[in-house]
């Protein structure tokens, strides 16, 4: 089972910590979690991927959909701390060009 925990870490920035796999089963849940966060006014989001042991193209699609959701609301979405397999998938798919991985969720909104 994949889990999602949302915490407002500082003014205007919330971190969604994902634990488990981001595949066809969990990807719709991530989209929902992001949609709810944005609906409640949290539009600057970091998805902390350190607990994601595996991600495939369904997870990539959900991240890109989530990015669009935040930007349409005037915010942004960043990703942080991907592991080895997640990094491989981000690089092979070139999605790291539009979702640059930050080293940690603390670094993600410092620029």
């Amino acid at each position: 089972m994949t889990s999602f925990q949302v915490d407002e870490v500082r003014a205007g920035v919330s971190v969604i910590r994902v634990e488990g796999r981001l595949n066809m089963v969990a990807a719709p849940e991530l989209r929902d979690v992001v949609a709810q966060a944005v609906a409640s006014g949290r539009t600057r989001l970091v998805v902390d991927l350190s607990g994601v042991e595996f991600m495939d193209s369904s997870g990539l699609g959900a991240l890109i959909g989530a990015l669009k959701t935040t930007r349409q609301a005037g915010g942004d979405l960043r990703i942080a701390s991907p592991g080895e397999q997640v990094t491989m998938v981000l690089q092979l798919s070139n999605v790291d060009r539009i979702l640059k991985p930050y080293r940690s969720s603390d670094d993600a909104f410092t620029d």
């Binding site: 193209s57 959900a62 397999q85 092979l92």
Partner: protein, 138 residues
Amino acid sequence: MPSQIEYTAVIRSPPDTVDDAHDFLTSVWGELPDVSAADRMALETVLSELVTNVIQSNPHREVQCDVTLKVAPDALRLETSDTGDQVENLPTATAEMPDDIAEHGRGLALIRLLVDDLTYRHEGSQNVWRILRTRASA
């Protein structure tokens, strides 16, 4: 030591999901500590994409997908055989990713980047996908 070891799993969706296919590989790796991390990651990604495609292509009915993994000293061979609708409009042989902001269409391109050979055949009434990945440590 046998030259090749074979493992099989049957995925029936519903109720099975892509997680069940993934769990199958995870349990196989437990018996094969010499398979490299790169090979494990590649095969897990490939199988997840293949089974996702089977389930998503047949949304309104039950589908069975037989999974076979053959582990040889020099190569890993993965085969899925499913009862879903015949695959049409096969994408071209290139490994092109869609536009940066597309939310779909990366699965098969990812597979192609992770394997040395990929074939699709409609055999009997089944869709059969076969992949070959040469082992890094061979």
